[in-house]
């Protein structure tokens, strides 16, 4: 008897749940996509934006190439902050974009290793060469050049210093700029050639050592913002906000060069 009563109650709640599921759908805050190297800078900018306008955004981070693919497949993003201009160009040609794009910052690379590592970090990467020859360097982390612009830049730098072929067997690829940094900072890789902005992250303070790489060693990492076809008012507002005083200040503090 008791069991059948329980069963009836369950059946009723089950029915109610099914009926009300549509109502429980996600909030309607606009979604934007950003390359993961810009994470910490963007969080600060978004907070400032919210304080000034009262509007909120949801941000999805991934590698620029991955985001481009998602946009091609109909991803619901209204604004795209890419780590280079080429991916945005691709989207222009596929008519996924609303307007002109804007290069709002220039990214920089940094050599990074855990704080107690003995590897010498220098601009010519001689310290790296030495450590390699001495057999002290097993793994080096960069973002995956296949779909992360910071990885492409890292490869350029290594090629310029004639280290690419030697380093190739020791390379581990982060799925995006952030993961590459995480590999290097945690010690999974002894060294990483990663986004400077991420190396500056407060969370990594006192955990890592880093060195800024001259921008002459690689093609400029043009951080490009573009509105997408379904961009709403908030996204458009944010697009402009990015180019203004406050946002530029934040970008600068996080290690980006301003155009």
């Amino acid at each position: 008897m008791k069991l059948s009563l329980l069963k009836n109650r369950l059946a009723l709640s089950y029915l109610l749940l099914i009926l009300f599921t549509p109502i429980l759908s996600a909030a309607e805050i606009p979604v934007i996509a950003a390359a993961s190297n810009i994470k910490f800078a963007l969080e600060d900018i978004a907070t400032a934006f919210h304080q000034e306008t009262g509007k909120s955004l949801r941000i999805s981070y991934s590698s620029s190439g991955n985001i481009t693919r998602q946009i091609q497949q109909g991803g619901p993003f209204e604004l795209f902050l890419s780590a280079n201009a080429q991916y945005v160009e691709q989207l222009h040609q596929q008519h996924k974009t609303l307007d002109q794009d804007k290069v709002f910052a220039l990214g920089r690379l940094a050599l990074l290793s855990p704080i107690n590592s003995k590897v010498i970090l220098d601009e010519q990467l001689t310290g790296l060469k030495q450590a390699l020859q001495a057999g002290k360097l097993q793994r080096i982390a960069i973002a995956n050049p296949k779909h992360a612009p910071f990885g492409i830049a890292a490869r350029e730098v290594l090629q310029k210093q004639q280290l690419w072929d030697t380093i190739l067997p020791h390379l581990i690829l982060g799925e995006n700029a952030a993961q590459a940094t995480q590999f290097a900072s945690s010690g999974a890789a002894q060294v990483g050639l990663v986004s400077y902005s991420l190396a500056l992250a407060p969370a990594l303070k006192n955990r890592v050592r880093y060195l800024l790489i001259p921008s002459s060693l690689h093609q400029p990492l043009q951080q490009t913002a573009v509105l997408l076809n379904n961009a709403g008012d908030t996204a458009k507002l944010f697009f402009h906000y990015l180019q203004q005083e406050k946002a530029r200040g934040i970008l600068s503090r996080h290690g980006y060069t301003l155009p």
Binding site: L3, Y14, L17, I18, T21, L24, S25, A26, A27, I29, V31, A33, S36, K39, F40, R58, I59, S60, Y61, S62, Q70, Q72, Q73, G74, G75, P76, N176, A178, Q179, T181, Q182, S185, A201, A203, L204, R207
Partner: protein, 222 residues
């Protein structure tokens, strides 16, 4: 602790269960009771997600529902929505991926009911829907509960497919498993640790509870 991501994960698991319960019961029962041409082919198809890498399923879902052609395009034109990069898409992927975990235990549970008992019920004057409600479901209940437990836990931890067809959108497709991944990449080890441990606890509690429940009903229904 990313409460939003946790709530999303629980919601995803629950909604998946809501669909899988009737699907599992109907399909599991059908497969348990009937022989028909093509049955082994169907069973193979239904068992595929057991061995299929999640990325393969994710890939096929992306291809199928891409709004630029075919089914995806039709969906956009007809309903104005897609089945990727949103919660509904995750539910669909989740249902497909959990089919064998739902169907196999339920099929076994129904097959274990002696045919004579169902026949005796019919001879008592019960029409088939009543036989299902009063006889088959109570006897198959432990198997059904086990199936639901496994599906819930499995969905809670699902990562590969969610990553591929989800788009990592907070409050929409950023499940707790993704959130943990996200925190690690943000160098927020503390948050990652807190969430991982909470998830571990939550999973253990859920499984213990449902095993207790099924053991209890087994005692009554021997």
């Amino acid at each position: 602790m990313d409460w939003q991501a946790l709530a999303l994960s629980v919601k995803l698991s629950s909604v998946t269960l809501l669909f899988l319960l009737p699907i599992g019961i109907l399909l599991g029962r059908w497969l348990a009771y009937r022989q028909f041409w093509g049955k082994s082919l169907l069973q193979t198809l239904l068992a595929l997600p057991l061995v299929l890498p999640p990325t393969v399923l994710g890939y096929y879902l992306l291809v199928a529902f891409s709004p630029n052609q075919g089914l995806g395009l039709w969906l956009v034109n007809t309903f104005g929505t897609t089945l990727i990069f949103n919660f509904q898409g995750l539910v669909l992927a989740s249902i497909i991926f959990n089919l064998p975990f739902a169907i196999h235990p339920m099929q076994r549970a129904f097959a274990a009911i002696p045919r004579e008992i169902r026949e005796a019920a019919a001879c008592c004057g019960m029409r088939p829907s009543l036989v299902l409600w009063k006889i088959e479901l109570p006897l198959a209940w432990p198997g059904i509960v086990s199936a639901m437990v496994i599906c819930f836990a499995h969905t809670l931890g699902e990562f590969g497919i969610v990553l591929m067809v989800g788009g990592n959108i907070p409050a929409e497709t950023q499940t707790i498993a993704i959130a943990i991944y996200d925190r690690v990449q943000s160098f927020d080890d503390h948050a990652a640790a807190v969430m991982s441990f909470s998830l571990l606890l939550f999973s253990m509690l859920t499984i213990s509870f449902t095993y207790w429940l099924s053991a209890r009903s087994e005692r009554t229904h021997d």
